[in-house]
């Protein structure tokens, strides 16, 4: 029974780590140690400055954080889905921005190339994406809205000789200004969604960084503008047509978020617990007060149940039985639980909780984004509602 984190030990009230393989446990410990050394002491500063630590990209590559489930022949580490989840957990325990970087690179860039790419595309891009030599981004959402990607997709891929000409705008694109390649989803002349690997130095491609964010400040967010971007036929991902292409990528990323959010939850819970044991009011530590204990217990309870859900999703995923709706449940519930926990932790910390000296408010603000992106809380509610009633509220 582990009621708080210490050293490399994760918060684990039900001893769930006994269900992990020895390799998964080792990956969790090693990831935490690495991130506690290279990222945790500096994250508040990066967040405040609004800068992503680009010097860590190659280090993430060395650790194997980029495309970890991809087979070794393409530069990945070939680890299990639970191991991938634990990496997301450890990254987001530091900051949702670091986890977002790795989620995009692994699930939204490397995964579609691995799943839908030609052999040449896999050999050309995957090993370099795995080391961090190349950074990728994923362009699906457009300025008119993200929740209806098909209805709102105005980006077009016009056939032109042997290749295509891409025109359109993508919005809220993580890693946009860092990326060497963009996976761009666009409708072809027949109105069918296709995926394209677009080098970001192609004429007509422009990335504009989104400024003035009050959330995910240690992460690069961009608008992508494509004006007559000409790509050869070899840039098309040949293995998929239609919206299921990008949606299947999002299922991968959402799976990681279901784990990652619990890392943030652990961080704010641990901080609030420690604070409640030392801060005294009316002669007693505030942790002795019922109102505070109730908040702490709710956080612990949500973390414990969320971890069981995340672990089960990993088992289903490796068995090839995972349904996207099940991932919706994990993403929806775990992120909202983490967001609520961060708000409670901020409250327990009192005045201290409003500064970046503590982690809780940073997690709280980040989690507003995580609750919104990759399918908003409400959209996942309606996906689940449709699944259980057979009645569609999304049309």
């Amino acid at each position: 029974m582990v009621t708080t984190s210490s050293g490399t030990q994760m918060l684990d009230y039900l001893g769930l780590s006994e269900l992990f393989t020895p390799e998964e446990r080792e990956i969790q410990r090693s990831s935490r140690r690495f991130l506690d050394d290279v990222a945790l002491p500096y994250i508040g500063q990066w967040w405040e400055e609004g800068s992503f630590p680009t010097h860590l990209i190659r280090r993430f590559g060395e650790m194997g954080f980029l495309g970890p489930t991809i087979p070794a022949e393409y530069g990945g580490a070939g680890v299990s889905s639970a191991a991938y989840g634990l990496i997301a957990y450890e990254l987001e325990r530091v900051d949702s921005g670091l986890r977002s970087f790795c989620s995009v690179q692994s699930s939204l860039v490397m995964y579609p190339i691995y799943a839908f790419g030609s052999e040449e595309q896999k050999r050309e891009y995957l090993p370099k994406l795995a080391t961090g030599e190349l950074v990728g981004c994923f362009g699906l959402t457009e300025p008119d809205g993200g929740s209806d990607p098909d209805g709102n997709m105005k980006t077009r891929a016009r056939k032109d000789g042997d290749g295509y000409v891409l025109t359109g705008t993508k919005m809220w694109i993580t890693n946009g200004n860092l990326a060497h390649i963009a996976i761009v989803w666009a409708k072809d002349d027949g109105g069918v969604v296709r995926g394209f690997i677009v080098p970001t130095d192609t004429p007509g491609f422009k990335a504009n960084e989104v400024r003035h964010k009050a959330s995910l400040r240690a992460s690069v967010t961009s608008e992508l503008v494509l004006e007559d971007v000409r790509v050869p036929a070899s840039a098309v991902l040949p293995g998929v047509k239609g919206l299921k292409g990008p949606l299947s990528c999002l299922t991968q990323a959402r799976f990681g978020i279901a784990w990652g959010a619990l890392g943030a939850l652990e961080a704010v819970y641990t901080e609030a617990l420690a604070f409640s044991q030392t801060r005294t009011t009316f002669g007693k530590p505030i942790g002795s007060r019922q109102l505070v204990q109730e908040k702490l217990v709710r956080m612990l309870s949500d973390h414990t149940k969320g971890l069981l859900v995340a672990w089960r999703l990993a088992q289903l995923k490796d068995a090839g039985k995972l349904r996207p709706q099940q991932v919706s449940l994990g993403k929806r519930d775990n992120v909202r639980a983490a967001l609520n926990a961060a708000r409670s932790a901020r409250e327990i910390l009192g005045g201290s909780g409003i500064t970046l000296e503590y982690h809780s408010i940073r997690h709280m603000l980040n989690l507003e984004t995580v609750d919104t992106y990759e399918g908003t809380h409400d959209i996942h509610t309606l996906i689940l509602g449709r699944d259980i009633t057979g009645l569609n509220a999304l049309e």
Partner: protein, 248 residues
Amino acid sequence: MKFVAVIRQVPDSESRLKIDAGRVDLSSATLILDQMDEYAVEEVIRLQEKHGGESVIVALGPERFEEAVRTALAMGADRAIHLVQEGYLDPITQAEALAEALRAEAPDVVLTGGQQADWDSQALGPAIAEALGWPVVTWTTALELEDGQARAKHDLDEGAEVVRVSLPAVFTTQQGLNEPRYPTLPGIMKAKKKEIRKIPISAASKVEVLEQSIQERSRLGKVLDGTKDPHAAASELIRLLHEEAKVI
């Protein structure tokens, strides 16, 4: 050349240990590769990278030690030998059992932690050297091999010295010897397939542990409020340091 790191698994220094029926209860502790042994693992990997040959992990301890052995293999060592025995063995008895395995391996260099985090003992490395009849350098902070000899810098109580020592020899580690690498995901996955030869042993401990207790470290926890009258708080602090703590 062959390089051996002798390692142990110990509770994480941040783990909260409990005493149950006069024994340390490790059930809620995180158990890790001893951080002083981690320097030994890093050093044998570096020696192998520089001089070629083989890096081998040798451990003596209960079955649970395997996780620490895997950590060492995940850092990059080639293979491991695990002498398996449950229960407590004193360091001298451990050293005798380890010496037998080490003699069979015939390494050029043996490294182990300068201190064992669980017993807070520094005996194991010198005891291994004694059992083998090899020279020992303790608290090593730098190690170079040249012409079948080693040149090592090591800490003394109030200083340091550089020594030349014939091989084979035993070295114990000190902080600063190197910066251990993190096990990477590919390293962890490769370690799964590396050989761990398990050899059950039944050595008789010369020391029997009858009872264990944990030192209670309670603080006076006196907190002065300096927000209202900092001058008065500072005077009070000086008075306490002078009259009660007697440090100034």
